[in-house]
Symmetry: C2
Subunit: 507 residues, 2 copies
């Protein structure tokens, strides 16, 4: 094994640059540093940085001019700093990163090989350990996209993703779960479904994600009502006392590769069915679920755009679920327009609370979709089937038992509060009289994000119309909600330049 | 079209960070910048930076702490700075980068589509304009690798690469060229072949590259003897007066996408036949060549490792060359051990000069290989064929006409000097008596690089043995040459830890 010399000038002192390069560790070396010349390092090389206790693999940037670094210093990005955790006087050493085992598997896949489970374990392991660059992760994703993965490979990938993180297990034989493929603003059924299922005695240890590209994730929405950042032990206590939880999965370290893969998929705007199946099923398996309902909203501006695509995805999910001994039921649902009224964490939370509390003005579309999914969970969980399952769900909502269960879960999680309301609001009026012909989910989500969602938790928008409704000129189509005048103006500017967000047919 | 607001706090002043991120432009924004919050930018987003005269697409990094940037400033990497060229008081604006046309073609290719020439033009155009990130370029490379490109697609890609840069044309009907696939240290035949061909009256406007991963490129080697950084007009004058040139291609802007693609291929350690064919042929077509000889060294530690791989590559080269109306002759040559004695720019230059000057101790293997290639060029150029071509080449070398042509070309290029000699030298002795069984090209190249090649132009190593020769214990296998004691020590350390560089069979 080659050894890097430890003494100056070949070892350098760490300097935290404060630069967030996301998950990829980056280090900056001065062009005139002896180690750069001796090793023949150039910008974008992958190098190993060796500290006394830890080592990382990082992408190299080279300082050509300026005073960012003193001689004898190496700059570390936030990801490099957090992974290496160097002392301020620790002398860091450098060498070219060894060839990656994972990448030899990726190259085999690029050249048409079929990968075994061990190969997927190696790739996922190196991704989780931060040893693969985004460029390398992109190569893995592309090599596995476009129908190049057999059902067996998808299953192996899913297993590898589960093994890379923590896995929960429950004594009960039936552990239900639900998941929505996403892409539909306001489709916040999870808190309602969990409350109904748990009120009926089903075990539902639900973890949810925060928004990645959307104006709100279920975890963001629930955070306006309760605590969601529980650790594994706290989550287990909630589930043991209430039969269910509604927490953020990010703190659990379940399927930790998934987030990294999704980030790189987004950089490529690549939707790979194999990756989606592995992503969904790995999280469900890691949570210890045995029976899973999948909501696949389908529509021209949703994530899944056609019935054919939805069917193909559902078949792939079912094939791998069988291999993983998960029972899976998929619902292909209407994804043509947003659900409920609110878009944004607190705004969606208000909708959820109104449905749970049987308010007279609760959004009926959200209520109906939540009941459809709850009925599927009930059926899969073995309580009732068909119309009887649906009636059981509706009854649990109507008699307040779902709401009481929701309150109990929130209290067990550590808080039950009323979501806030944004201080800056502005209606967006209909430019002319007409009938709402379609609503663009993507542009609407973008407007809500420009207004501040999800980082400003009361920001977003409140939709007043649905497809098929007639509006008069000047009648508000939706209200923008923001926590600052600047963000409100910014969202308004976007809305003015995108009249197609809500498309009105003049007839 | 969405418009980004121009006034503060949404516009920022540029600050040059001096950080070389290689070709990918990177900008750094403060986490508390209003534009980050309003746009919902996160680390690794692709954003468009709009100046008064130009705009670029850059990858975003976010400053989480520290004083790298003042409020109201945006940091620019070297690539971002050079592409945008902002004034110090220019207010820069920001928005999410528009969806890339190129990437929609890449996704189509990922999902199994066949791309037309227009699609390749779009991809190559965006790569050359710096609008695709490394992650996106990686997706393109992987989508096109592993036999997923038809011969027609390879030809289209080659044409797109030619169209993206400058293209030379020559009045002569026959313009010869040669190219080596690479991977073999010391295989520096180009200056000899060019001198012979030009001495015999063939037109050979040769452009060469600098080292990318090797201890020396042909341009690096020639630069120790003459000037190689000529522009197009200067190159044309040399060719018009001498019938040939030997210059660095990098200043010519011929096939500018090629270097960027190769950089990302290297990050992935991916050798794609389709990409290699397009890379080689696009440079030859851009240089105006009509007849090309390709040297394909084949051996276990060369770039092409098996005869089968060499044949496959040759067929692919010939198919696309035909479509591009290039006449191509491929020579599959022995790539099992280095050629000549020197490895490193000046060390290889000394070998080349000895062959051209008919020195008694000129390395015979280099001379024979250069004559083989010169004979192929002579045959393809229509002067002679078979044994007669070979004799013509040998005669031109023996009678000094090749050497006189070499001198004339160098003088026309602006210099003719003696290559230097490294001040620090150290023999590496045989650890025991035995027969040289094999030499590892890759490890040997690595040792030469650690000694300082190619940036230290006299650094590298001088090989004293070839496969099959018997050596006594303590007899030098090779000498390390360096320009500093530190680099010499560094290379020695590497050599001590890698006894397999020259493998001795004790029998």
């Amino acid at each position: 094994m080659e050894q890097a010399p430890a003494a100056p000038p070949f070892s350098l002192l760490p300097r935290r640059l404060g630069i967030d390069t996301h998950h990829e560790p980056v280090v900056v070396l001065r062009a005139d540093s002896p180690v750069v010349r001796a090793e023949g390092f150039e910008a974008h090389a992958r190098i190993e940085v060796l500290g006394d206790a830890r080592s990382i693999v990082a992408t190299l940037n080279i300082l050509r001019q300026g005073e960012l670094l003193a001689p004898g210093e190496v700059g570390l990005s936030e990801a490099a700093w957090h992974r290496l955790q160097p002392r301020s006087d620790e002398r860091l050493r450098f060498r070219f990163a060894r060839a990656s085992d994972a990448m030899s598997h990726v190259r085999a896949k690029v050249f048409g090989g079929a990968l075994r489970e061990g190969a997927f374990e190696a790739v996922i392991g190196e991704i989780v350990d931060g040893r693969l660059s985004n460029v390398e992760i992109a190569a893995f994703l592309v090599a596995c996209a476009g129908g190049r993965m057999s059902s067996g490979e998808v299953t192996s990938l899913t297993r590898a993703m589960v093994h890379a993180g923590a896995r929960m297990s429950w004594p009960q034989g039936v552990v239900v779960d639900k998941h929505c493929i996403g892409g539909l603003p306001g489709n916040r059924t999870t808190p309602i479904v969990v409350s109904i299922a748990a009120a009926l005695g089903l075990l539902m240890p639900k973890t949810s994600s925060r928004a990645i590209t959307s104006p709100a994730g279920t975890a963001d929405t629930l955070e306006t009502i309760t605590r969601v950042d529980l650790d594994l032990a706290q989550m287990r206590r909630v589930v043991e006392s209430e039969g269910a939880c509604m927490v953020w999965g990010g703190a659990m370290n379940m399927s930790p590769a998934d987030d990294l893969l999704i980030r790189v998929e987004r950089m490529l705007d690549l939707d790979s069915e194999a990756q989606l199946v592995a992503s969904v099923l790995s999280k469900k398996a890691a949570a210890g679920a045995t029976h899973v309902v999948i909501d696949i909203p389908t529509g021209p501006t949703a994530k899944v755009r056609s019935a054919q695509q939805a069917q193909s995805l559902l078949h792939a999910l079912q094939a791998s679920a069988r291999a993983l001994e998960l029972r899976l039921l998929g619902l292909i649902t209407d994804g043509s327009q947003p659900v409920g009224r609110g878009v944004g964490p607190a705004l969606e939370a208000h909708d959820v609370l109104r449905v749970l509390q049987n308010h007279a003005d609760a959004p009926d579309d959200l209520r109906r979709r939540a009941l459809d999914l709850a009925a599927a969970v009930i059926e899969l969980g073995g309580l009732e089937s068909g119309q009887a399952a649906r009636e059981l769900a509706a009854h649990s909502l109507a008699d307040g038992s779902a709401w009481r269960k929701f309150e109990a879960i929130c209290r067990a999680q550590g808080a039950l509060r009323e979501p806030g309301v944004a201080p800056f609001q502005r209606p967006v009026p209909a430019p002319h009289t007409g009938c709402v012909q379609r609503i663009d989910n993507r542009l609407l989500a973008r407007a809500a994000k420009l207004a501040g969602a999800p980082h400003a938790c009361t920001a977003g928008l409140l939709l007043h119309v649905h497809v098929g409704e007639r509006v008069q000129r000047g009648q508000p189509l939706f209200d923008l909600h923001a926590e600052s005048q600047g963000e409100l103006d910014y969202a308004l500017d976007f809305v003015r330049h995108h009249p197609g967000i809500v498309h009105l047919d003049p007839s």
